[in-house]
Symmetry: C2
Subunit: 262 residues, 2 copies
Amino acid sequence: MGNDDDAGGLRSVSRAVRALELIAEAGDMGVSELGRKLDVHKATASRLLATLADRGLVERDPFSERYRLGFGLIRLAGAAMTGLDLVRSARPILEELAERTRETVNIGVPSGDGVVYIDQVTGSRAIVSVNWVGQRTPLHCTSNGKVLLAHMDDRELDDYLSMPLARMTPRSIVDPTQLRAQLDEVRRRGWAQTLEELEEGLNAVAAPVRQSDGRVTAALSVSGPAFRMRPVDLPRIALLATESALAVSRRMGYVERRFATG
Amino acid sequence: MGNDDDAGGLRSVSRAVRALELIAEAGDMGVSELGRKLDVHKATASRLLATLADRGLVERDPFSERYRLGFGLIRLAGAAMTGLDLVRSARPILEELAERTRETVNIGVPSGDGVVYIDQVTGSRAIVSVNWVGQRTPLHCTSNGKVLLAHMDDRELDDYLSMPLARMTPRSIVDPTQLRAQLDEVRRRGWAQTLEELEEGLNAVAAPVRQSDGRVTAALSVSGPAFRMRPVDLPRIALLATESALAVSRRMGYVERRFATG
DNA sequence: GACGCGCGTTGCGGATCGCGGAACATCGCA
DNA sequence: TGCGATGTTCCGCGATCCGCAACGCGCGTC
């Protein structure tokens, strides 16, 4: 899913990034295997991996001799996160929200045709804490994703809906018309919800985070098990999420307008 | 610090990674500036950044027009972390340790001439939770680092100690002889401590995590404010940390030997 | 043990791709 | 308006990196 082919740009660099993505998807990779997937000679793949390993972006398992993503990436990502003022500004607010709701709080941004979680705070009631940071999930079956879709340009939204929507669970919304109706509601009331649409037993609500120019560039969600986050509970939780999202937006320099619509 | 020059390998790829590291250090960067630091023509830097941006590893601030690290890196790092069995295995144990000590727990691995934290669980008493994941800190003034140094090959250790040790606080150990004595103690009693050597007011203890072959490849630490983690408290906390580290080691396939020394 | 098959790593020569220079557009500033 | 700095695009040439092939290695089979 999301094989964005080979875009333009410097060839080896492009190829290197592609290699990293492939390894990320597969978990690990051998030289010849990478060569086949990149459609290059295995000698080329070998040299590429050697370079990446030299720089610490990949490393080889001592036993299987296969390549995996390396710690260098984690270091770079750490710098990326601290460099992103969004994470910096949002952190304390996410923590407060996690404390108030006692559930897991995530903040995500659009990336490709999905949403990537860039930070997470685990609530005290979370039984098993899955770390979603860095994960990419589909837009149409996550609450964060619905928020982002709801505030997307019409053209982009049309593009997205022109592709078939993946069914992750029986309750995933895969009908574009139905999804559009939901997105209208999201815009109207200011928050989105998902009811076991990504994973069975997992509900969530999300609210938009705005940049200083008012554009929605991120979304903030509270998610938890369906038995604790029943549909009847969601409006209350969503209110807290909306407040927090607004607080983050303010930190990003957003000031509310007094226009009724935006 | 740690400008590892231009190592071998494919040129543009090497250069691209170098560029990412430079941007990580500086926070953000312009085209010409990068060109100067990489010692290439600005046209080259422009193309390089365009390619990286195309692939999502960097992105440009809409206003300042300067480049920053992008979300693509976070996505890759997320995959790297879930791919690393160390993080997977350690997570629940870190959480248990954080709950028992109510302080912040980190796990780190050596990278270059420092230690990189690859995962962290924030304890409930942590006042302000700094996210260290992805950060690189010097070996000689962190408890994790001391553990790693203590179990390093003699040659590597000599190399490290041949360079001057940075003084981060007044209490940093910068005398190689004194540090060696501490490392002996770390090996003997099985855990390391730092007393406000990295940051004033911050104490920590750490214990070694071993791979299946017995080599120490990571370290696990508990850190907190000096007034809660007084020197007299450290042995008790270190005992917990050592137990947890051993539990992680076992999950990695390590079985204790009955030899007195190793 | 010989053989075939797959993996990964090195030389090597030659085509390709990317580098550097230059020109151009833009912006801020005096 | 001129100046300096930044960033992008075009073009020709040459270093670089690719594909080939050969080699070493491990594994299973005949």
